[in-house]
């Protein structure tokens, strides 16, 4: 998971509606079944709301989830 890079195109145009801020890339902790991952993800710099794009959720994240479930 630490090697994950989200292509720029997957998050183009999104900004935080509440804060009106463009998103920045920041390390975010993700947890599943006692495993913690540090992943750089698009985040609102003001309120820290994290965006998980479709490509990540249905791709690498799903793979890792299934791998962890089989551990």
């Amino acid at each position: 998971m630490s090697m994950i890079r989200i292509p720029e195109a997957d998050v183009t145009g999104w900004q935080c509606k509440t804060c009106g801020e463009p998103l920045v890339r920041k390390p975010v902790e993700l947890k599943y079944l006692d495993s913690l991952f540090n992943v750089e993800l698009p985040v609102c710099p003001a309120c820290n709301m994290v965006l998980i794009p479709e490509s990540l959720a249905m791709g690498k994240m799903r793979q890792v989830e299934q791998l962890l479930e089989d551990k």
């Binding site: 509606k17 509440t18 998103l23 947890k31 991952f37 994290v50 998980i52 479930e69 089989d70």
Partner: protein
Amino acid sequence: MEQAELRHWERKCIQEESPRCTAACPLHVDVRTVCALLGQKRWDKAWATIAKTMPLPGVLARLCDAPCRDACVRSPLGGGIEMGALERFCAKHAAPVAPPRPLPSRGKAVAIIGGGMTGLCAAWEMARRGFDVTLHCQNPGGSLLDLPESQLPRDAFLREMENLATLGARIRTDVTIDSTLLDSLLETHDAVFIDSDAAPLSLTDLGQPDEITLGTLHTGLFASRAGETSPVMQAAAGRRAANSIERFTQGVSMVSGREQEGPCATRLYTNVEGVAPAPAIPAGTGYGEEQAHEEARRCLQCECMECVKNCEFLKHYKSYPKIYVRQVYNNESIVMGTRQANTMINSCMLCGLCETLCPEDFSMAEVCLEARRTMVRKGTMPQSAHEFALRDMAFANGDRSALARHAPGAETSEYLFFPGCQLTASAPDAVEAAYADLRQRIGSVGLMLRCCGAPAQWSGREALMDESVALLRSQWEELGRPKLIVACPTCLNILRDRLPDAEISSHWSILRALGVGGESVTSAPLAINDPCGARHNPALLEDVRALLDQLHIPTVEPKLTGATTECCGYGGLLAEANPELGTAAARRRAAAADEDFVTYCAMCRDMLAKTGKRAVHLYDLLFPVGGDPGARPSPGYSARRENRARLRERLLTELWRSTGDDASLPHESIEVRFTDEAARAMEERRILKTDIQKVLLQVRETGRCFHNSETGHSLASFRPTVVTYWVEFEETDGGYLVHNTWSHRMRIMGGQA
């Protein structure tokens, strides 16, 4: 799974049993592989395969009397494979093969007396195993040398004698073969073997050697049984002697585990249905390349694979049950590391077809269901595998869908109609009509809307199953233990199993007895799709056919039908645990008939419909609600829930004149529509309308979301329990239009909902 259970299951699967040819061959030559190679014109490789097993191959292959031919499965279909002629072709045309490399010396000396086929083969077999072998005879080859050159060319014989020498065997012709020699050999050697057909009579007067060990009354002295005329049986006697002497010199049991030596029985089953007869190619004076190729191609390459050929799941994992059960066993044994068979275990449809087809009744269903239960008990069952189905079961048994009542206005129930939660989800109007029909025709019929527990059963959740059945039982008892009328074949199986004290009939047998009539709704024949749940219920199979007959509907049967019907891909929760394979199984079943299907399981109906196959449920014919039932789409997952809830609501209002007793939840007031793309994503990703409404309610309450200035769409997430849902949407007048949705199970740390 205990190791004994593993062995029990492994023994049941006969795929690895020898083909009949190899079993009949006293040397167990791999005839099937030889034929496969000859069928590819790989002459040298075929010969090497023969030579690997045969002693003195250049001699024996030319003389082999091929007992495999009469045992061949091809025998009634044009005649057994002419293996003798194929062996001779190989011996003549293929490149010579060097003798095998002998094992390291054992430091044990064996003397052989008599140099006929048996003695020579014994020498070959023992020399290759690392014995120090000396063959005593005056004329090596004996009567073999009398054979005509056309049958056994002298140079072929001499080449094998050279090979025997290369293996390390010595031949002594400068001795007088008599009892003095025998006595001295017994003194100086670890064991002695006599080729009884090539030794003087004075030495063979030892009584009949033991059939299994070829042992004689004299310890350390072994002898072949005299009078054997079959060359390959003579060779086998040489091998048997070698095996005995090996055991004797090692001091291990002389008899145990020797059942497979020599010609033996095999349990391998090969289905020859559809195999066209093909006459054997006459051997004449010997095959040329084309004839050998053609003859070898007649080989059926015997194997069982009865279950694998007929199951998408078993085929998908590219092996067969004997291997699968080993993988299941290994999967359970893993303490640290990846359990690679989890998905395989969760992909069995538990439909029982393999067990029905298997000549030895191997049941993958039993293996996989038990493995699932073990996984649940040990806490190793992947969380995501069955969660959606179990949530659906909880909904079907929850306040919004479940109901248990006497007939309107009645205080007691003689009968209780149990349509099953998937039928109410798929065809709620027909369920309503069916219930009305039952009340009208047989009087006091109560109604129970709930799930029988199949998802808990199939997912291996025994505690949940017990809990579900206990609740069902208490409701049934509260209603005065009425006779159950059950529409769904799976519910029927589960209820009969778990409510053994209840009197249970299928709705189909009741309808058959009451009679149904009317004009035929179709003149085109329909193909009957028996659900897997009906496999072991001959009465049900018959009732359904009788009903179709009463309806004057012409029917056809697919190849796999009745007791051997195929699962639609939903059984065992395959479609939930492994959706791609579930779809493949549904497609396979859909392709089993050109005609429209008629079935009596709601899941079969909907799984088939999802593939684009036209299919009707019997309810569509008996209780039509208009439209083209064959084209009725399968309701999506959200619609299935709504259908159940609305049916309950409507029945409560219209029949029992009571209002629904539950207020709607806050998120349900969110007006939401979906683009086609979003609707597809919801089905594929198992995301419900209510999940999306919960995300949107949160947006409405907090305003927190992302916005995309290019598309004008907004994006928000919410995690009701264990899954985070994302919804990409735009606001419309008073509601939302959803463009896309996705989910993940990982949690974002730091408080994001």
